[in-house]
Symmetry: C2
Subunit: 388 residues, 2 copies
């Protein structure tokens, strides 16, 4: 197991100190010790979500958290506009359909960035939209949708709440929730936070709370009002994933030490190094407006993507991701979200070029690695955070 | 932190090897390595749930899992009979009300065991009951409700599904799910399983699957059919709490090594030692039909329970639980669910007697400890499992 490198877009490697925090004796969630930890975690989440509002921690995956984010602010029959363009964007339409909501899907071709004008047209036609959902960083395509412009459109053309899936953008890109007027912003522990999976985060604007309908569709476990009340007292309504909270306490502290700008810059630089490397080795980048969380790239002609993913894993111990749904035979997804060091990126791109050569793709040895190194060398030293 | 002993009815101490499994590098949930682990976990869960059906693992607390257990098998307006008698039993009525179901609460005084004849009367009056919920071991009162008799009544008097909260009974008491005709049985990772909190388990009978209504109330994240499909392939539908699954793999293996009968016997003996000790020191046991997961005991006259809980924690590093809801000033709850060794129980009862004396309760030094020791000494050696 120790020979494998997690190089997927989440779950992402958990720093040793965070793993060691989970190896200590378990603490009780109704203890003062847990309250102290949870107080720090709540404050750290507000800092990285860039909000004065509470960021609610749920013990669930990001999907559960986004379901909570939708259902708690919608009534039976509400109209939801879902901005698609990938597996995750489209998933929120499935959630809405599960609740028999009136779903308007804004179709976006996989790999394209959502067009704010298209959203404006949809909203101009309708008076009754309760919520618009946007997946900021679409993990299935590597696209970063233009959140600022989409948020402007939502605010200009409607009174709808804006719910944003920031699962692979919060902690990677600058997402100033309050400043952008995002109403609900969702994150997940196993992404930029570098904690193990099992916690979802939901930050809710004052406006969304004011407008929460009495007959909202939130269930019992995912009742955000109850959680908000309990969490304001540094407690959770139900027994939380204590181990992940302990790990998250460590990794949020690491992020604070590093500084928010430096965390974003580290992600930007690792993403740039990855993109430059795959381009240098002759692969075609997939998707407009690349996210700094994940680089999606088309497998070379004649080599199916799963073959590369398998060989990367089996021969080089490098766990990258393939494509999802209809892109599964074409796409490779290289993760650089979380506490990745430059050496991790160099490991990833050098094993990728070796693997591609094994499979008959022609490229000079060292090309990808050299390209990634140049990105790091050229980065101004003052912009570069110390390695975590 | 290392000086604290978790002696509450869950979360319960996590064995070192399980904690060390979480300290290893994280693995990806879409990897062969995870599939292997999850296959073992699924099989171990079937073994301890005593069922041939799939036991579905959800990343949530036990409450989330029980909500899933109810909503996936009920339609809008369904009638649910909820057997009360404590905080958890009554919680399932709150869940049902959240979904506007027709809720019939069978009132049971806290501390009493549910009377099967009372349930028979309720069911005899109604044709239309879709589900009966029973909390087998009621953690708030320490009562073990008579599941066998209640199951008989449900099967004789109705065609309702029987959903059982086994969160603090599975792995403690013998709950042969298939044999008893339980339709849905729910457990939680932080209880007898000795893993950290964050996973809930739902075992579902073939009968319940056959009768699952098309318009059931299960949400998206808690869609048990999707999970069942994915988990039959040793995968989860959404990113699971990987760390807890790794820990659970270790503790299920420990349970298998120990043997199911021995696990139950260890719990029985630790419970008997605890009950005998608190009785010896002059405290009154609370509740009929005590559960082997938790001993509920009334605080002595003049000493409020929270004072004892706080002093146990602050002075002796022993984390026991107080009462819940209206019992909060009266009740102490001593946990012995999970991988408790005899030394843990002796630590608990000896610090309790010391603490009680500190607070003015008269008892000869060593009384409780001696009583617990006698229970262990008298236990036939062949019945006693080796310490885990």
């Amino acid at each position: 197991m120790d020979e494998h490198h997690l190089l997927a877009p989440g779950p992402t490697p958990v720093p040793e100190n965070a793993r060691l925090a989970m190896a200590k004796r378990l603490i009780h969630h109704r203890s003062d010790e847990f309250r102290e930890v949870f107080r720090r975690v709540r404050s750290g989440l507000q800092w990285i979500f860039q909000t004065d509002e509470d960021v609610i921690t749920l013990t669930s995956s990001g999907t559960g958290a986004f379901e909570a984010a939708m259902t708690n602010f919608l009534s039976p029959g509400s109209t939801v506009v879902v901005v698609g363009g990938g597996k995750f964007g489209e998933r929120w339409a499935d959630v809405a359909r599960r609740y028999d909501l009136d779903v308007v899907e804004m179709d976006v071709e996989w790999g394209e960035a959502a067009d704010p004008a298209q959203l404006a047209d949809i909203l101009a036609d309708r008076e009754d939209v309760s919520m618009v959902t946007v997946t900021h960083s679409e993990t299935s395509t590597g696209v970063l949708h233009p959140l600022e412009d989409l948020a402007d459109v939502v605010q200009r053309e409607s009174s709808a709440l804006l719910a944003v899936d920031g699962i692979t953008s919060v902690g990677v890109h600058d997402v100033p929730m309050d400043e952008l007027g995002v109403d609900v912003l969702v994150g997940g522990s196993q992404k930029a936070f570098g904690a193990p999976p099992g916690l979802g985060f939901v930050a809710v604007s004052a406006r969304a709370w004011r407008r929460q309908p009495d007959d909202h569709l939130g269930g019992y476990y995912f009742d955000l009002s109850r959680e908000r009340r309990r969490q304001s007292q540094d407690q959770t309504a139900f027994t939380p994933g204590i181990s992940q909270v302990l790990a998250l306490d460590v990794t949020l502290d690491m992020m604070r030490d590093e500084g928010r700008r430096s965390v974003f810059e580290r992600h930007r630089l690792n993403a740039e190094a990855t993109r430059t490397a795959v381009d240098a080795v002759g692969l075609e980048l997939f998707g407009a407006r690349p996210s700094n969380a994940v680089t999606a790239v088309l497998a070379p002609d004649g080599i199916p993507a799963p073959q590369i993913v398998d060989r990367m894993n089996d021969t080089y111990g490098a766990v990258i991701a393939g494509g999802q749904k209809h892109m599964s035979s074409e796409l490779l997804r290289l993760g650089h979200i979380g506490f990745f060091r430059r050496t991790d990126i160099l490991t990833m791109v050098s094993s990728l070029e070796l693997c591609l050569r094994d499979l008959g793709h022609s490229a000079d040895a060292g090309t990808a690695t050299a390209a990634a190194q140049r990105v790091y060398t050229n980065a101004s030293h003052q912009d570069v955070p110390s390695e975590p």
